[in-house]
């Protein structure tokens, strides 16, 4: 067929017309519609499946909240608060909800590691354990079993007990736990009420709360329990007075915020005692005038803590001081609490004693809504440890008063008394003050074993890392913290998902090491695995623990009314002061516990970091709070870059001008400046612990620093 121009045009037009009416267009439209709506490969498509809910306990902090984990086809997809749990009653904090970001974090330590030179290399569990056993055997062979030590995040619970037992039967008394306000409360309770080990606060039932800087709704005590208590308090019209130099969230939520010069809290408490004693508005049923310690105490406060004097020291208006004293004394069930911020560190002994003196004057000891003094409830029943002669000898050697003093000593010389260190549930190279010194001390310890899930600041310094399961992968008994909560419970952490990586329970790890050591040590660990051990040592409560997931050990105050000894307070205690020369460091750096930033051994999750204000983190910079007056003096404006210098270090920061902080102070968030491999969390801001020097109290040996003298200048 000859195609001339005419037929060509005709054909062309026909084709156009045909295409226009054919269904091809519609079909293509439809297809491209679907195509643009499903970008295969670019977006993850979550697999659906059977939905299940399992209960467990969160152990990201000491709060021990009950959690319910929603799973789909075996994957954990959401963590929620467990509704019927006695501690958190369905509530949950942001760190707990973000728990799965820890569990599935690809930057977790995936297998045991051994440090060779400057690098970590993968090894098997067997090799790691036998390597550790070899080292320990050598130490024991030198007859120096006391030169091994262990630092743990807590000293309760079966895993800590297993480590303690290991050290004991090996021959070392050097088991330490990281100090917190609980430690100071325990000291206070023992000193003022005789042999008793815990002190807890029934804030839930109090009718007036006087808080000396406690971040009551910022992670203090058992955080979610406190949140719940706070909400209930508002409903019941129970007042909260918050005494602290900065408008924290707690201060903002309180009925009254009383700014105070930092470090003078003890003075205020004693000044209040003065008024209460002077006006005889203390509880006469529990305080006997004839008590000699009370007489001494009365004399001391009358002499040294007159309201006028206290008003001057603390910077609080005299009338207000009187008002607080009356409000406290006249309240039906008042309670005074201390422990700055989250209470993650040990407190000032004098301050705690003075605050507790208020509780004693109010006569609220072992009453509903008051302060409960009681023995530690030990629910664990371990068989008696059998020690050989080397162990007995080693165990009887003197121990350091605290881990801080140990570090202090070790940092001074490379020829240290400590040959090996186990690090469990803690991150001292990050959380301890003057962390550069801590890191130096770690370098002086020849052999360190870390039981960590993450390559944190301390794990990085270890020679061997035995990676542990995350809390959703393991069994463990989780006792509730002592100070914040009166309802003493123990919860059961359960393995809800299969271990993601080649990790183990820390309990199993220590059992493996014990077995590898053979002999006497191995004999003391007869259990085939940690779960068996847990079952046997909790046998009294195991059935209800495994059934319900928690057991309430105490929920009533002891009937016992312990006597009160005020000599502890009159005993010439000194308040902890900010270190540093005021001339070169005219300002004071204080740490801010921000509920959205995890401050302890575990770093924040990506989600938690995401919630942090741009007035705290901006890019990789940390912003510090300055009162406009302080900022103006230093010629700094909001957003300016500045350098903070303290006697122990310096850091580059940015400025956040905030009206709610007392002039003369620099407020810096705790918990930043992490150096993990997790890019979502690490390298943001600075670790405030690098800037603060520890102040070790002579009596307790614990670091009770709350700040440090500092200066700030524009960069």
């Amino acid at each position: 067929m000859k195609v001339d121009r005419r037929s060509f045009l005709g054909l062309g037009l026909g084709a156009v017309a045909g295409a226009a009416v054919s269904p091809a267009g519609m079909k293509l439209t439809d297809d491209s519609s679907i195509m643009t709506q499903n970008w295969f490969g670019l977006l993850p498509v979550p697999i659906d499946g059977e939905i299940t809910f399992d209960n467990s306990v969160c152990s990201l902090c000491k709060g021990s909240c009950g959690i319910t984990v929603k799973k789909v086809a075996g994957r954990a997809i959401k963590i929620e608060g467990q509704d019927d749990h006695p501690i958190n009653k369905g509530g949950i904090c942001l760190h707990g909800i973000a728990g799965l970001q820890y569990l599935y974090d690809p930057s977790r330590i995936k297998s045991p590691l051994q440090k060779i030179g400057d690098r970590f290399e993968k090894i098997s569990w067997d090799d790691a354990v036998s390597h550790i056993a070899e080292k320990l055997t050598a130490i024991k062979d030198q007859q120096k079993p006391e030169s091994i030590a262990c630092i743990s995040g807590n000293d309760e619970g079966s895993v800590s007990e297993l480590f303690k037992r290991f050290l004991k039967v090996f021959g070392s008394n050097n088991f330490y736990s990281m100090a917190s306000m609980d430690t100071t409360w325990e000291t206070t309770a023992s000193k003022m009420h005789g042999k008793s080990n815990t002190l807890s606060f029934d804030i839930e039932n109090s009718s007036f709360i006087l808080s000396f800087g406690s971040g009551f709704i910022e992670g203090w005590g058992s955080p979610v329990h406190c949140f719940k208590t706070n909400a209930a308090r508002k409903k019941k019209n129970v007042n909260l007075y918050q005494i602290e130099p900065r408008l924290s969230n707690t201060a903002a939520g309180a009925d009254k915020w009383i700014p105070i010069k930092p470090g003078t809290e003890a003075d205020l408490a004693l000044g209040l005692c003065n008024i209460i004693i002077n006006e005889e508005i203390y509880d006469i049923t529990s305080i006997s005038k004839s008590n000699s310690s009370f007489q001494a105490f009365s004399k001391m406060v009358a002499k040294d803590y007159t309201p006028e004097k206290v008003a001057e020291t603390t910077g609080i208006d005299l009338a207000l001081i009187k008002q607080i004293a009356h409000k406290f004394a006249w309240a039906d069930k008042p309670i005074a609490i201390a422990g700055k911020g989250r209470g993650d560190t040990a407190g000032d002994t004098k301050e705690f004693a003075a605050v507790h003196a208020l509780n004693c004057l109010a006569g609220n000891i072992n009453k509903k809504g008051g302060t409960w003094v009681s023995r530690k409830n030990n629910y664990l029943k371990f068989p008696l440890a059998k020690m050989d002669s080397i162990a007995k000898n080693g165990f009887s050697k003197p121990r350091y008063t605290s881990f801080e003093t140990l570090i202090d000593k070790v940092a001074q010389s490379s020829d240290s008394d400590i040959q090996a260190l186990f690090v469990l549930n803690s991150n001292p190279c990050y959380t301890m003050r003057d962390s550069d010194k801590v890191i130096k001390a770690f370098e002086n310890i020849p052999f360190k074993v870390s039981f960590s899930s993450f390559m944190d600041e301390t794990a990085k310094k270890a020679d061997i890392i035995l990676p542990t399961h995350m809390f959703l992968e393991r069994y463990e008994d989780i006792p509730s913290p002592s100070a914040g909560i009166t309802k003493k419970t123990v919860g059961l952490s359960r393995p809800l998902v299969k271990p993601i990586f080649d990790t183990n329970n820390a309990g199993d790890a220590i059992l493996m090491i014990a077995k590898a050591l053979k002999g006497n040590v191995a004999e003391n660990f007869p259990w085939s695995n940690y779960k068996k051990c847990l079952e046997s040592v909790t046998k009294d409560i195991w059935s209800s623990l495994s059934d319900k997931g928690f057991v309430v050990l105490t929920d009533k105050p002891s009937y016992l009314k312990p006597s009160t000894d005020f000599f502890h307070v009159t005993n010439n205690l000194k308040s902890v002061e900010a270190q540093g020369d005021k001339k070169s460091f005219p300002l004071t750096l204080i740490s801010i516990d921000n509920v959205r930033i995890a401050g302890g051994e575990i770093a924040s999750s990506p989600f938690a970091i995401k919630t942090v204000s741009d007035k705290v983190i901006k890019g990789t910079d940390i912003l510090v709070e300055l009162n406009p007056e302080t900022a103006a003096k230093a010629r700094l404006a909001h957003g300016d870059k500045a350098k903070i210098t303290t006697p122990v270090g310096s850091a580059l920061v940015k400025v956040n001008v905030f009206e709610g902080i007392m002039p003369g102070l620099i407020g810096m968030a705790q918990g930043l400046g992490r150096t993990l491999d997790n890019k979502y969390v690490a390298d943001k801001g600075v670790n405030i612990n690098k800037l603060i020097a520890p102040v070790i109290e002579p009596g307790s040996g614990q670091d009770a620093a709350w700040g440090i003298a500092a200066s700030i200048s524009k960069v």
């Binding site: 439209t29 491209s32 519609s33 195509m35 643009t36 709506q37």
Partner: protein, 431 residues
């Protein structure tokens, strides 16, 4: 080299000079194209837009080019509907400028949306209550009109007009052009208006919101009117620029002055309406919502000067220059007025897009500031380069300006003589 394509009798620069010029502008174009692909492949994170600035430089560019491209519809309306015949001498160019502006606007929109491949959803799943749907509908239809209006001009190319079919198409299109022009004017009216409606209906944004008539906020009418008023000023400005560059007079002064006069009066009427709108908005609309003028103009770049600049410098001043015969006929003042007018309408669009985003609405919210990324700037300059190239090509190869030959009889005579000589030569050869 390309003389076979150049209109008879027109004098154009040599091809190498032309090629170098195009290459220089082409480099800028390529830079823009590179940025465009960067955005398409990597996504809008290449821009400095954010959740506060969802609309930014591009939407401003879009609104601005459409406003200044309004010369096409308004000149067409005047010529085809109102029968002002002199304007036939500039209509071709007005259409080309309109075509450039609208094709640029569509291109920018295709870069601006987060899922460009789903762009057609606006037609397929249209929400008929959205101003943006109206914009899309009218914009694409009107672009079709511009293509139709542009085709006859292309067909007038020396080589194309030789093809009988195309010659007939050209002829027949001219025959019914008034229908297309009328459709175009109708579509333009609505899409210019609906662009104005885009911010006017944002009742959550007290800076942008306006009361209005039925479903249309006052900005709807203000935008239509301002495009009609300011569009021709851009057409004249570009004509002037082309004349300056080519060193030739292309459109007779009476045509220019007529269009300038119309634009002047239009701008005056518009600016009066705009002042009334501003006064009403500042004293009635905004206070009802709890805002004073100070709340809107009082931070960083956005201060009250911007309002004065828009109304006085970009409105009253050019209007006055264009209205009065003496100033209008002074070529320096005329160009100044044209520049101010274009600046004025562009500033208006800027304020109506970017300042709306900058002003905090919640009492505890903050002013938001933004500066475009280089990718945004490059893609915004891209249409400018593209426009220059298209104008160069059309000027070189198409008889865009009918009066060009009239204005230069001597060049025509020379060309004719040359052609005749050629014919004679050929005849001589044949013989």
């Amino acid at each position: 080299m390309d003389s076979a394509l150049i209109p008879d009798g027109a004098k154009r620069c040599s091809f190498p000079v032309f090629a170098i010029g195009i290459a220089a502008v082409g480099a800028v174009l390529l830079w823009g194209v590179f940025a465009m692909f960067l955005i398409w492949f990597k996504g809008l994170n290449q821009t400095n837009m954010n959740d506060y600035y969802g609309f930014a430089l591009w939407i401003w560019a879009d609104l601005a080019v459409i406003a200044i491209g309004g010369g096409a519809f308004f000149t067409g309306l005047l010529k085809y509907i109102f029968g002002i015949d002199e304007l036939k001498n500039i209509i071709n160019f007005a259409v080309i400028i309109g075509f450039i502006c609208y094709s640029s606007a569509l291109l920018i929109l295709a870069i601006d949306i987060g899922q460009p491949l789903r762009g057609w959803f606006i037609f397929w799943h249209a929400n008929v209550h959205s101003m943006l749907t109206e914009v899309a509908f009218c914009l694409s239809c009107y672009f079709a009109v511009l293509v139709i209006e542009f085709i006859p001009n292309i067909l007038e190319n020396k080589q194309l007009i030789k093809i009988p079919f195309l010659r007939h198409v050209n002829h027949n299109m001219h025959g019914i052009m008034a229908v297309f022009a009328a459709t175009g004017a109708f579509l333009s009216f609505f899409h210019q208006g609906s662009l104005g409606g885009v911010t006017g209906v944002l009742y959550g944004r007290p800076f942008g919101v306006r009361e209005g008539l039925l479903v249309w906020p006052w900005t709807f009418f203000l935008y239509t009117f301002s495009a009609a008023a300011y569009g021709p000023t851009f057409t004249i400005l570009v004509t002037k620029a082309v004349e300056k560059i080519t060193g030739k007079k292309l459109v007779k002064d009476n045509v220019i002055r007529l269009l300038a006069k119309i634009a002047g009066w239009m701008i005056l009427v518009y600016i009066v309406a705009k002042i009334i709108d501003t006064i009403y908005w500042a004293n009635v609309t905004a206070p009802q919502l709890g805002f004073t003028l100070n709340d809107f103009y009082g931070h960083g770049f956005y201060r009250i000067w911007i309002l004065y600049a828009e109304i006085i410098i970009g409105g009253i001043l050019p209007a006055l220059i264009l209205i009065f015969k003496r100033s209008r006929e002074n070529s320096t003042l005329l160009v100044l007025a044209l520049i101010l007018a274009v600046f004025g309408v562009c500033l208006n669009r800027w304020v109506m897009v970017l300042q709306v985003m900058a002003v905090p609405v919640m009492s505890f919210d903050q002013w938001a500031h933004y500066f475009p990324s280089w990718q945004e700037i490059a893609t915004t300059i891209l249409p400018v380069a593209y426009g220059i190239i298209l104008i160069s090509l059309t000027y070189r190869y198409l008889p865009v300006f009918p009066q060009e030959q009239e204005l230069y009889p001597e060049t025509i005579a020379a060309a004719k003589a040359e052609a005749e000589a050629k014919v004679q030569e050929e005849d001589a050869k044949k013989a």
